[in-house]
């Protein structure tokens, strides 16, 4: 099977869908002549031309809105945010126009659109460029939210997102575009709304997504030395949540650690913890632990940033805590 980077898997997904459907186009800053700030659209301008690979000025509210308006009129836009940090200035468009249009018009209009780009902290970018947006975009109905951690998932889920009739937010990671993995040559789709067990195990359920996935897989490896067998679940879709996959694992292990990029107050991690507490209360042998950002603004300095981020060591500590393990 060919080995691809995540950025190549994303490009291939867009390429295949653009070839398949004339209505699909890519729009954003530097997506065309620059070939993408992170090279996720490399070669697409040459192949599809300026009509379908549309460079924009720096105007997120403008081009996010243009995408939504075009989707209402029957096109299928892919809007690239150079990073989701910049989507904050387009938040009104996503919240009030993309997410609400179908319900507000009693089904007269649909908005089949994908907003994609890197999300969460990269490396030493300071507070304004290191934010995880799950808690904002999962916080209201009308959109779907996806976060990917492997080339295989990136391609299969992005293709599904582009074909979806609803607005989809698709989170990638600046520090993971180079992550390599197997991607089948033949076409495949991954259904939206399905979690994936990235490592089966029996003792502790470790729930994660996006940039948290490699952190948790490393923590699970470290936990082996303590004789703790972790099951690592990659949610992949954050809205709608795959409750059943989570509950099934929790009923087996009776212990849960959530480890992800994002602030601790509210948000996706808190939502998952709440659902587990309500549905799996009788199955829990320990309180649910969460490992995420500290509740502070990200600092630039390397040591301060490292202290703020979730790490395999912090995750291991939580895994030991829910196992009542003494090291």
């Amino acid at each position: 099977m060919p080995i691809l980077q995540i950025r190549e898997a994303i490009r291939d997904a867009m390429d295949e869908e653009m070839a398949r459907d004339e209505r699909v186009f890519l729009m954003g800053e530097e997506v065309g002549y620059y070939n993408g700030a992170y090279k996720a659209s490399e070669g697409l301008l040459d192949k599809y031309g300026e009509k379908r690979v549309v460079d924009t000025p720096i105007a997120e509210a403008g081009f996010a809105g243009v995408g939504i308006g075009a989707a209402m009129a029957g096109l299928r836009p892919i809007i690239e945010f150079m990073t989701f940090n910049f989507s904050a200035v387009a938040f009104d468009q996503i919240l009030n126009n993309a997410a609400k249009m179908r319900q507000l018009t009693a089904g007269q209009f649909t908005v089949p659109i994908v907003f994609r780009g890197p999300n969460a902290a990269a490396h030493m970018l300071g507070s304004t460029h290191s934010q995880a947006f799950e808690s904002f975009y999962c916080g209201f109905p009308g959109v779907k939210v996806i976060s990917v951690a492997t080339p295989y998932d990136a391609k299969g889920l992005l293709k599904s997102a582009i074909r979806d009739e609803n607005p989809v937010l698709f989170f990638e990671s600046e520090v993971m575009y180079g992550v390599k993995g197997e991607v089948p040559e033949e076409e495949y789709l991954i259904p939206i709304g399905k979690a994936d067990i990235k490592r089966p195990g029996s003792d502790v359920t470790v729930i994660t997504w996006g940039q948290g996935v490699p952190v948790c897989l490393e923590a699970a490896r470290l936990a082996e030395a303590d004789g703790i067998d972790c099951e690592v679940i990659d949610l992949r879709t954050l809205r709608p949540l795959d409750d059943e996959a989570v509950f099934e694992s929790v009923r087996k292990t009776n212990r849960v650690v959530l480890c992800y990029h994002g602030w601790p107050y509210g948000g996706t991690g808190a939502e998952v913890a709440d659902r587990i507490a309500r549905v799996c209360f009788d199955h829990l042998d320990a309180p649910v632990e969460r490992v995420c950002y500290e509740d502070i603004n990200m600092a630039y300095a390397e040591n301060l940033e490292q202290l703020t981020l979730p790490t395999p060591e912090k995750a291991l500590e939580a895994i030991r805590a829910v196992s009542y393990h003494r090291s």
């Binding site: 403008g62 809105g65 209009f109």
Partner: protein
């Protein structure tokens, strides 16, 4: 500049000779007069229903500005789109939406334009070319640009007319949308309905430059600016912009100087303006202009106006009774339409 400073003088382009003083076809004048009257009577009826507690939420009346919606409707071809603000009843009626379903939407009833989920600020009727009904100021401008982008992309030949208040001209999304429309030469007409007040804030306290069209060249757009005193003149001058969008794929910025005779919404007593100012604008009410032409040129007498009014009032009375007696939306309807699959039959 404080609120007491007199408004700076503004230049207003003179109406083209072709329009002012021109005699129009009698049927045309009657049709336009009647359409303006329909909007006015509809809204007067709605205002009454509001004070009776039958309509709630926000209700922004278009009274005084009707000529704009009526002139616009006359320029639309199938596939064209009107995208407007929350002050949207006039456009809905002018575009051919049934007064019953409009009133029922205000009443929050199942039979409303969007089944009672939208209310006054969110009228949509895709089949009539009404693409909203948008309630976040300025947020709809990029959307309209997106509709026009789709027209250019697919070559459907449609024109998008995007209406906004002068108050919207100071928010970022409007600048971004207009810049993209100019940059990409999209078939869209931006029509600023300058009714002099952003809620209670007069234009002199909104921006140092009261002429909105000075911004047009910045976006590579031609512009036009005039007082809305005559529905025919309004139609003619908007037609030039629509034609430019249709045949040259070029956007235009039009500023219409107009006035709302009521407050910003039903909860606004409009204490920020003088009676004199309101009366002065009422003299130039386009409905009076049409009435004058009907009387002086086409020989209409009181009995003609009374008969017309009677028919229109009867229509709106019927709309009101229809709305009042319509059922509430089904409880389950609140879950509908959030996702496309909500409305698909269950699989397997």
């Amino acid at each position: 500049m404080n609120a007491d400073t007199p408004m700076p003088p503004r230049t207003v382009a003179a109406a083209p000779a072709a329009s002012k003083g021109t005699v129009h076809e009698k049927e045309d004048v009657i049709r336009h007069y009647r359409e303006m009257l329909r909007i006015r009577r509809f809204e007067e009826m709605a205002a009454r229903a509001y004070t009776q507690g039958k309509i709630s939420g926000f209700l922004h009346l278009y009274i005084g500005q009707e000529a704009i919606a009526v002139a616009t409707a006359d320029l639309m071809r199938p596939g064209d789109r009107v995208v407007t603000t929350y002050r949207d009843h006039g456009f809905a009626l002018a575009q051919g939406c049934d007064s019953r379903s409009c009133m029922a939407e205000l009443f929050g009833k199942k039979t409303g334009l969007v089944g009672g989920v939208g209310g006054s600020m969110h009228f949509f009727a895709r089949d009539k070319g009404l693409w909203g009904g948008h309630a976040i100021v300025g947020s709809h401008v990029p959307l309209a640009v997106g509709h026009a982008f789709a027209s250019k992309y697919s070559g459907d030949g449609a024109v998008t007319l995007c209406f906004l208040g002068e108050g919207a001209m100071h928010i970022g999304a409007v600048h971004e949308g207009m810049n993209l429309a100019g940059l990409w030469r999209l078939p869209v007409v931006f029509v600023v309905e300058n009714n002099q007040y952003a809620m209670g804030t007069p234009i002199r306290r909104q921006t140092p430059e009261p002429d909105m069209t000075v911004r047009a060249p910045v976006y590579g757009m031609p512009s036009d600016r005039f007082k809305v005193e005559d529905v025919f003149e309004t139609r003619e001058r908007l037609a030039a912009a629509v034609e430019r969008a249709r045949s040259e794929h070029k956007p235009t910025l039009v500023e219409l100087l107009t006035y709302r005779f009521r407050g910003h919404s039903m909860s606004d007593p409009a204490k920020y303006r003088t009676k004199n100012e309101v009366e002065e604008w009422k003299i130039r009410d386009p409905m009076s202009t049409a009435e004058q032409e009907l009387r002086e040129v086409h020989g209409w007498g009181d009995e003609d106006f009374e008969a017309t009014d009677e028919t229109v009032v009867a229509e709106m009375q019927d709309a009101m009774e229809f709305a009042d007696s319509s059922p509430l939306p089904d409880p389950e309807f609140r879950f509908r339409n959030h996702y496309v699959e909500d409305d698909l039959p269950e699989q397997g």
